[in-house]
Symmetry: D2
Subunit: 262 residues, 4 copies
């Protein structure tokens, strides 16, 4: 008996939300998806989330939203995230941070899936150690279910790949987010954990990681402040589908998803 | 009339060099490759290059070696690189740096191909602007040939994708290196330039970006000094093949190469 | 015959501007100052400058304003800086950046003083090399006067100290800014250049580098977004006075200035 | 009844050790010092410590050695530090790190002094939160003595100043290290804690933070690998003397020490 988990990479702005709304039903159907997890840190105009964008994504069929370094970009979320039990922020933020970093969720058929959201530290913020934070959280999640999905939101490939190997055999899927470019390294590690360094993003592909390309080029050329607007053309959904043996939590297959809005 | 260019991602240590030696002949044959460019910054035990490793790679069929931030790790190379006209270092190093950042090379049939090596600045060293450096170099290369391959060695996806769009229509291929993980975004940009964010590496895949995984995990857990040894198991060659229209320099196809040593 | 140059460290917000207005007349008088240069990158509410704050500082007796990484925080300044010939931005910004990085200014007695503004790259933005940029600018300034003041706006002490030694004998004063903490190393280097690693700031000393201390502590503890407000209590003016031999540009004395508003 | 604590900033290489040996006796005498704490992270040729350099400093009259990011540069120290109860490494290193981050030491008259070593995270390694780590350690130290000295080894002034205010009223002295340039802000904070952002270094002042100036300038100009040798000329000892009320742990005076070897 297997569960099919769909993970969707960083949803960027309205074009990303629209792509998800359009493409999710057919993906769920095609892959007989039992649970959908999406990273939503860029859902609101490219920076952070709002009550409305969270609701929009959850209404569109996302079961759990993970996030990352942009989670607090819209500051009102700090006071709202505790009202959204299906929205996670990285676990390894300081004690006392609003929200939570992991949870156990149920598929429509009632099966339990643990979801854990981590953030890397290389070239990123000064957070607690994501490796040690993961140890504790996974031990706890495994009391309820061996089926566990981990979103490691990080810049450096070394930190993400190391996390994959570190958690190999203890979780079902380790998938990276944050760089907005999908990697071509989906694999099942020796211990039975499915892995992909980055899921890629859901949004305009004719862009620089979701932002209008002219603006980012201007930024690099001038080093002046530039307002980053979300790009609209050629929206795609990127992610992975992972088939997991329910009894053991071992991954039996991982498949990359890169789907264009027609 | 088209030229087939093969670019091979960062060759890591002896396992990477062996993989290249084993796999290159059949790739050249299969894709009727006219010119082979490989990034060699990690060729010597994972850090830098030596006279011997450069010769080994050139003897194995590599026509041009590009490099990156690790180029000077073996310090003797500083005094030797000028003896190797087929080895480039990133162009945007300070004036007076040994070696050169671009060159025009010939295929065995005598066709000219320009090769340009750039390094990014986000999360990396304080170098000259790679975008502006590219403008000048490409103008010069184009006086000799419209067929130009660019290796943008950089950490941040934003900088690499921006470089692709910035050079779109002016060069044949922009391919990234440095993260050692191949990306799944090979495409031809609107202006006719082939693009992939990272070629991936050539070396052990059962590793953390080429290094023995236990060592990298230990480093992340302890923050203590750890000696990084090159991993050996499961060597792969990663890269891209790009077909370029000789008369115009426009890319007509780009194909990802990920080949395992049997 | 000597000139007395007063350099005032980063003026932070209204408390900094008020401190400068209050203290500048007596400092000019006490030290018989011939020219006042102040770093104004934090003049407008702690972040950037506006037309009004620039005018306020210039009206208060500042002859030349230098800046740093915060120069564009108030974006309207980008279009205004060229109207303010007495306001400099770091020289080593990319070609085409609004404003200019150096200039020759006159004391009320008609003597010429060159002022050069540089920005470091360690832990800061990706800019052109400040060392090489300085070479060219100083050669040009010295055609008009040997009396030259350099504001090196940088984070790392190594980069600032290295700049002092690099320019020793070619300019009259190298003084650092940006860390907002005055250093205790005022000295005259062997070649005759006066030097101090950081001038310190002009603003509330009962603060964390000018910002309300509770807010900065909250930021460090929570890693959440915190709005930084300028602190008001216990305003000081920090800077240096440098006596320069007009004929040669050699410094004959440097004295640290740390003056409290009574 | 007061205790006089002398803190000596980063001792750099042999010139630093010699300066300390020469100057310490007269400083102890002049200030009637009860306990000497010195930062030794650069004691061995500028990078790390060895068994011999630790013994040399302790024999010279240092009671406690603190360290920082360079602590493990000489790798053998990892296996030796536990043999040196008077050598601390920053407390906020991961659980399981060799050595310890705080301790209670006795003056020759038998009075107890707590010493705590912390490391910042801004522009530095990915460590545990130094603010939270300090809370726990100080609570424990205060069970034995209210006289507590804190060495906050950090790059950013904001992090050091924030630490000073955060610990104000709970410890006797917060003094920064790492930048190797003494700051001119010795003060007693409102809650009774003495504070100085950086103690400065003990070593050659005719240098770039202890390293031969030509080498550092070459590094900045070329971005090539440069071997950093310790500078020898013009050695100084930099630090602070703090007078502390024994019964309460409150500082009654702080005085900067900058002493040149004759
Ligand atoms: Fe993102
Ligand atoms: Fe992110
Ligand atoms: Fe590499
Ligand atoms: Fe690299
Ligand atoms: Fe400032
Ligand atoms: Fe600044
Ligand atoms: Fe140090
Ligand atoms: Fe240090």
């Amino acid at each position: 008996m297997v569960l099919n988990l769909l993970f969707v990479g960083d949803v960027v702005g309205r074009p990303g939300r629209r792509a998800l709304q359009r493409l999710l039903p057919r993906l769920i159907d095609r892959h007989q998806v039992d649970l959908v997890v999406a990273n939503g840190e860029n859902a609101a105009a490219g920076f952070g989330l709002t009550r409305d964008t969270m609701n929009e994504l959850l209404d569109a069929g996302v079961d759990v939203l993970t996030t990352g370094n942009h989670v607090w970009d819209k500051r009102e979320i700090c006071g709202q995230i505790d009202d959204f039990p299906r929205v996670l922020r990285p676990l390894n933020y300081p004690d006392g941070t609003p929200g939570r970093g992991s949870g156990v969720f149920q598929t429509s058929a009632g099966y339990k899936v643990g979801v854990l959201n981590l953030e890397g530290r290389i070239f990123m913020s000064a957070l607690d150690c994501p490796f040690r934070a993961a140890d504790a959280a996974i031990a706890e999640l495994r009391r309820e279910t061996p089926v566990i999905l981990v979103d490691i939101h990080a810049e450096a490939t070394s930190e993400k790949v190391a996390m994959g190997h570190y958690l190999d055999g203890r979780v079902s899927l380790v998938v990276g987010t944050h760089t907005h470019v999908p990697t071509a390294d989906a694999m099942i590690l020796p211990g039975g954990t499915a892995y992909q360094t980055d899921a890629g993003m859901t949004g305009s592909r004719d862009s620089v990681i979701g932002v209008r390309k002219e603006l980012v080029i201007e930024k690099f050329l001038t080093q002046m402040p530039v307002r980053f607007d979300v790009a609209k053309k050629d929206p795609w959904l990127c992610g992975v589908v992972c088939r997991v043996e329910m009894a053991t939590g071992r991954a039996v297959a991982i498949e990359q998803v890169m789907e264009r809005v027609d």
